[in-house]
């Protein structure tokens, strides 16, 4: 049974409780204290140390009758793809699919080559800078708990890749991931993916009946490009690009056969030319 997230953005109020709960549970260091200055979204993007990001889409336009605004909020996260670019690219086998069907980076195996970073079609995973002497991670508190340190992000001090683990450690104890637990509106729902999908489809039907005709699912069904379905999928109120999600994501490894074939053609061509040149008197 695969577990995942159904993020229903129509319910999100932009409180960022998920971001905070994730940081807290996973003991992820702060990203610094900075303001974008033109948005309530100061997190800006997912990163190696930010595994939930509440994206704010503030559409504010001046009209003859005053100001018209629309606020869209969406808690973004790793999609835990059915065919995951990061997992396929990883040369160390650090990235695995665990028993919950989640895409998981083993922090003690990763060597920080950075290949997963460029292989995620959604721009999710990133390298965590070396935390060096100022390491905020500590495994001390884990030793007294029932948690397995190898299943958390804490088993390293940086220099490796980081992204949402779908709270692997909590799941092994039968607990709900921290973000879903903290979400006050049930915008983030956790559970068996098949069940979540059914629920999401019903929700879309209800919304359409209420006149919200632009409501659509992202990743509940095959998203195309060879990626398949997403274990963490979304209900959006507008086109995916409005939320900074790709409209046409592509699984990078699908390009390999063409690449190797092109290289082989040139190699053989040059070898023949070389033979003619070198073996002529």
């Amino acid at each position: 049974m695969a577990t995942g997230f159904f993020t229903d953005t129509t319910l999100c109020i932009g409180c960022k409780a998920c971001e905070v709960a994730c940081k807290q549970w996973n003991e992820l260091p702060s990203d610094g204290f900075s303001f974008t200055g033109d948005s309530y979204d100061n997190t800006v993007e997912l990163s190696g140390t930010t595994w939930r990001h509440v994206a704010f889409v503030e559409q504010i336009a001046a009209t003859p009758d005053g100001v018209e605004d629309r606020w869209l909020m969406s808690s973004d996260v790793c999609k835990h793809c059915e065919n995951a670019g990061c997992l396929e690219a990883c040369p160390t086998g650090a990235i695995i699919r665990n028993e919950f069907g989640s895409v998981y980076i083993q922090p003690d195996v990763c060597n920080g080559c950075g290949y997963c970073v460029v292989s995620c079609p959604f721009g999710v995973v990133d390298l965590i800078d070396s935390l060096g002497g100022t390491a905020k991670y500590s495994t001390a508190n884990l030793q007294e708990s029932r948690l397995d340190a190898s299943k958390t992000a804490l088993a390293h001090t940086g220099g490796v890749a980081g992204k949402c683990t779908l709270c692997y450690d909590r799941q092994t104890l039968g607990m709900v991931p921290a973000c879903a637990k903290a979400c006050p509106t049930d915008s983030i729902q956790f559970g068996d993916v098949a069940t979540l999908r059914e629920r999401a489809k019903e929700r879309v039907t209800t919304l359409h009946a209420r006149g919200e005709t632009s409501a659509q699912l992202y990743g509940a069904d095959d998203i195309g490009g060879g990626i398949g379905t997403l274990n963490a999928f979304f209900l959006l109120k507008d086109r995916p690009s409005v939320y900074n999600l790709p409209e046409r994501p592509v699984l990078p490894s699908t390009r390999q056969p063409d690449g190797y074939a092109a290289a082989a053609v040139i190699a053989v061509g040059l070898a023949i030319a070389g033979w003619a040149i070198f073996r002529s008197a």
Binding site: D38, S39, E45, A55, E58, E88, A89, C90, P91, T92, G93, V109, C110, N111, G112, C113, G114, Y115, V117, V118, S119, C120, P121, G123, V124, D126, L127, I128, G158, G159, G225, P240, S241, V242, Y243, N244, P246, R248, V250, P252, S253, T254, R255, Q256, D258, G259, Y260, A261, A262, A263, A264, I266, A267, G269, L270, A271, G274, I277, F278, R279
Partner: protein, 303 residues
């Protein structure tokens, strides 16, 4: 605001990866040249020896460069715990390991035959390894292109055929340039004539591929062919690294230049080709970073 937010993550790679791609291309190209040399011919035997030694030396310096880019260099060996055909980074590392083995064995045979090492050591390398080094060389020169194009970076993805093809032809051209340079130093002018001829072919192929990439890549190609990077790429790679060396090499083939002048011509042409090869890789990496920041091409990714 949302319109400017990044969608993709930019590569973390810098000068060490650029250097690795560049040297890996030369190393692979030398693997091909050593196969082409007919050992019955004195000048070719010398060239084979030179290319084998050079390719082994490159195979020895490449791993440290590759390791230097890792976030956790001490975990380099984690790449050797699996073989993963779907990951160009994984197969590439294995290709590099096998190439080093073949190149090392061939070098030992070369040194044994010329009396530097005890003559029984020539049995270290069966003749099949000559061919193996060429095939593995073609792989190591080409896979780096596949490694780039099998990512989500829109520019690289759009070059799924062009970047691997350009990588291997540029690798061959640079290898020829290095071989010409070393031959001139050794005074092996007969060999130099041949390596320069092959260099012209490889460079011309590379030029055609890059021009075609520019034509078909549209918006995806803009970070490479337009804007601040494009100028350096045009001057150092397209003109300085391809057009000028081809012209110089052509000159050398048709004009009976006095020996010292001809040697100087070879040195200039070779250095220019090598510089152009480096800047090609640098352009790939740096404009890949710029490409990852372009939201529109990340929303609709190349197939």
């Amino acid at each position: 605001m949302n319109d400017e937010k990044p969608l993709l993550k930019a590569p973390h790679w810098g000068a060490n990866v650029t250097t690795y791609l560049f040297l890996g291309g030369i190393m692979g190209g030398l693997g091909l040249i050593q196969l082409l040399c007919d050992p019955r011919d004195e000048s070719m035997r010398k060239l084979r020896r030179t290319t084998r030694i050079a390719s082994f030396l490159l195979a020895a310096v490449n791993p440290p460069i590759l390791i230097s880019h890792l976030g956790r260099p001490e975990r380099f060996l984690h790449m050797m715990r699996i073989v993963k055909l779907k990951s160009p980074m994984s197969v590439g590392v294995w290709g590099l390991v096998l190439y080093s083995g073949a190149a090392g064995a061939n070098m030992v045979r070369e040194l044994a035959q010329s009396g530097v090492l005890p003559s029984w050591m020539r049995h270290f390398a069966p003749h099949a390894l000559t061919f193996a080094q060429a095939v593995l060389g073609a792989f190591t020169a080409g896979y780096t292109g596949v490694l780039l194009s099998a990512t989500a970076v829109p520019l690289w993805a759009a070059g799924k055929r062009h970047i691997p093809a350009a990588s291997i032809s540029s690798g061959a051209a640079s290898a020829c340039a290095l071989a010409s340079l070393l031959s001139v130093i050794e005074g092996n002018h007969e060999a130099c004539v041949k390596t320069e001829r092959l260099e012209m072919v490889a460079s011309a192929v590379e030029f055609a591929i890059l021009m075609d990439f520019r034509r078909v890549s549209g918006d995806y190609g803009k970070p490479m062919f337009e804007g601040p990077r494009a100028e350096k790429f045009r001057t150092v790679t397209l003109i300085g690294g391809i057009a000028v060396p081809i012209a110089l090499n052509l000159l050398g083939q048709i004009l009976p230049l006095p020996k010292p002048v001809d040697a100087a011509r070879t040195v200039v042409a070779s250095v220019l080709t090598l510089l152009g090869g480096y800047v090609l890789r640098e352009t790939f990496i740096e404009s890949g970073k710029a490409s990852a920041a372009v939201r529109q091409t990340a929303i609709s990714q190349p197939t």
